[in-house]
């Protein structure tokens, strides 16, 4: 059977179609201009920038600027800050996924006294972003001696229920017959968890990982408070520390190279795992 084109009569052909593309391309250019400018600034010399207007096309200082940023930076080598960010983002994403999988499994698949109470205690945390309780949380972390440490960077940001909520929703949709069959076969609960539930949750875990990795990587306020030692700075908070406090010119080429390096890992994750990313985004807002 011949396929009937489903664009119907609403879709504009010719001139209208052309305007749609023009409108979108203008939008994309507006969105990309700041990134393009940062990239250009990271490939020219300082003197190109401080005598405005700066060029709008890349120069030949790419290697110089990036290797200077990575190996020496301004307060700390950017390579080190990248590693700190990677450890923090992975720690937050994997830590949150792990504890949430376990607690969602307990809440959905067991009946035990106090279950409802725990359920509500966990879900209360949905309400309160870390920004709101910074002073007392800082005191707790300082009390444990966790300032300037990875655990201090990671643990306070794991204390939230979004992921638990998500896995609970997903486990509720898993057919009862699977647990039934496992029970009839005499399988222990943890066996059911490892052999059936976990493999079934693969896509959800991956989608959530993408969202949590970006969330962790892009943290700013918390690392700003608890990493006073430059060698523990994460890259996103470290950029602001690269600006001079006085009237001197900032080292723009190095700062812009660092900005590009700071956005590269999350951009690669989002663009290359677009499908999972969109799924994670929609899931975590449901």
């Amino acid at each position: 059977m011949a396929r009937i084109p489903d664009e119907g009569m609403v879709e504009k052909r010719g001139i209208g179609h052309y305007f749609t593309h023009v409108g979108l391309i203008i939008g994309v250019l507006v969105i990309f201009f700041p990134i393009w400018l940062a990239f250009v600034a990271s490939t020219v010399t300082q003197s190109d920038i401080i005598s405005p207007p700066m060029p709008l096309w890349p120069g030949d200082q790419f290697l110089t600027n990036y290797s200077k940023a990575l190996t020496s930076g301004i307060n700390a080598p950017v390579a080190l800050m990248l590693m700190n960010s990677l450890i923090m983002a992975m720690g937050i994403a994997l830590g949150k996924i792990l504890i949430s999988l376990l607690s969602a499994f307990a809440i959905v698949y067991f009946k035990f006294p106090g279950r409802r109470l725990f359920f509500w205690l966990i879900f209360l945390t949905l309400m309160l972003p870390v920004e709101v309780r910074i002073v007392p949380t800082y005191e707790v972390v300082a009390g444990f001696g966790m300032l300037n440490s990875y655990s201090g960077l990671i643990f306070p940001l794991i204390a939230s229920a979004t992921a638990t909520f998500l896995f609970r929703q997903f486990f509720m949709t898993v057919p009862d017959e699977l647990a039934e069959a496992a029970r009839v076969d005499g399988a222990r609960p943890m066996r059911f968890f490892w052999d059936i539930l976990l493999p079934m949750s693969r896509t959800n875990i991956a989608a959530l990982f993408v969202i949590l990795f970006i969330y962790g990587w892009n943290q700013y306020l918390w690392p700003l408070l608890i990493t006073t030692d430059p060698s523990m700075n994460t890259i996103v908070m470290g950029i602001k520390q690269m600006f001079p406090s006085g009237d001197d010119y900032a080292d723009w080429p190095v700062i812009m190279a660092t900005s590009i390096l700071a956005m590269l890992p999350p951009v690669i994750v989002v663009v290359s795992m677009q499908r999972l990313f969109i799924r994670g985004l929609v899931d975590s807002e449901k």
Partner: protein, 293 residues
């Protein structure tokens, strides 16, 4: 909603819950409790003792012209961020929805800013509008406009609004596009057959059908503007000039960590807590309705 089939025992589920319960108790409930507790006291200047003041901190805050100004600043800021980012995103989504092929390419290009941290976005925009080296401010100077967000309050506000909205366009675009694509084409075609032009169709059919998405985004964007834009403000203006861009979250930080006024900072945290609570309830109410719909 409950599972029919469950496993027996209570020791195992308790062990499974423990990691989350411990982390939540130590890093969430204890600090949140501390915030409420500290909000009722004023520490003495040497930090040796605390003086009970009841609701004194709150009374003081609500009478403090700076705090009230910060409330107004936050309201103006969130409103502008929400309208700017949603407006631009809707414009792009409506255009992308008109394409039969190729909307995927634009989508891939437009989701980039989502991955850029607010603090990094702040640095990018600061660079463009820097008073000494910024490209945009230089060209504005050529046109005879003297841009200086370091001194001019309205320009400072404009810059933090644009920088905060920029990263948010991606998110809003994705949800608007999904919302538009869920509208049955037959409804729109029926209107087109009746002779309704694009703008009429949009106003009378598309926009009303899109309202669940719009309302959802409205709440989510306000929450974003309230709590996640700290990085933008800290990198671009540090709350200045003259506190013109000191939003509530920034004030908790500057009063608590810069001026070490713990009682006031804790009271501000509690007020924010109430605001988040209210926004969350609105969001949940709405989501419930969407599920029933």
């Amino acid at each position: 909603m409950e599972k029919r089939v469950t496993f027996k025992g209570w020791l195992l589920p308790m062990c499974l819950l423990m990691p989350q319960i411990i982390i939540t108790a130590v890093f969430f409930f204890y600090p949140a409790g501390q915030a409420i507790y500290q909000s009722l006291f004023i520490p003495d200047p040497f930090g040796l003792s605390m003086r009970w003041v009841g609701l004194g901190n709150f009374e003081y805050l609500l009478g403090d012209p700076y705090y009230r100004a910060s409330f107004v600043t936050t309201a103006v800021f969130s409103l502008l961020v929400t309208v700017t980012s949603m407006g631009f995103a809707l414009y792009l989504a409506v255009l992308a929805d008109r394409l039969i092929k190729g909307s995927g390419v634009y989508r891939t290009l437009l989701i980039w800013p989502y991955a850029v941290a607010p603090a990094v976005a702040g640095v990018l925009w600061l660079f463009m509008f820097n008073t000494r080296v910024g490209v945009v401010s230089w060209y504005l100077g050529l046109l005879g406009y003297d841009w200086n967000h370091v001194l001019n309050e309205a320009e400072a506000m404009g810059l933090v609004v644009v920088a905060s909205s920029w990263g948010r366009v991606s998110y809003n675009f994705l949800f608007f596009l999904a919302g538009l694509q869920a509208i049955p084409k037959s409804v729109i075609e029926a209107a087109a057959i009746d002779g309704a032009r694009f703008w009429t169709r949009f106003r009378t059919i598309v926009f009303p059908l899109l309202s669940p998405t719009t309302f959802f985004l409205l709440v989510v964007n306000i929450v974003y503007a309230f709590f996640e834009t700290f990085g933008v403000i800290h990198t671009i203006t540090s709350g200045g000039p003259q506190q013109a861009t000191t939003i509530l979250v920034y004030k908790v930080f500057s009063d608590g960590f810069v001026s070490q006024d713990l009682g006031s900072s804790a009271a501000q945290s509690v007020i924010l807590l109430v605001i988040v609570g209210a926004l969350t309830i609105v969001q949940f109410k709405f989501i419930e309705r969407r599920v029933h719909y």
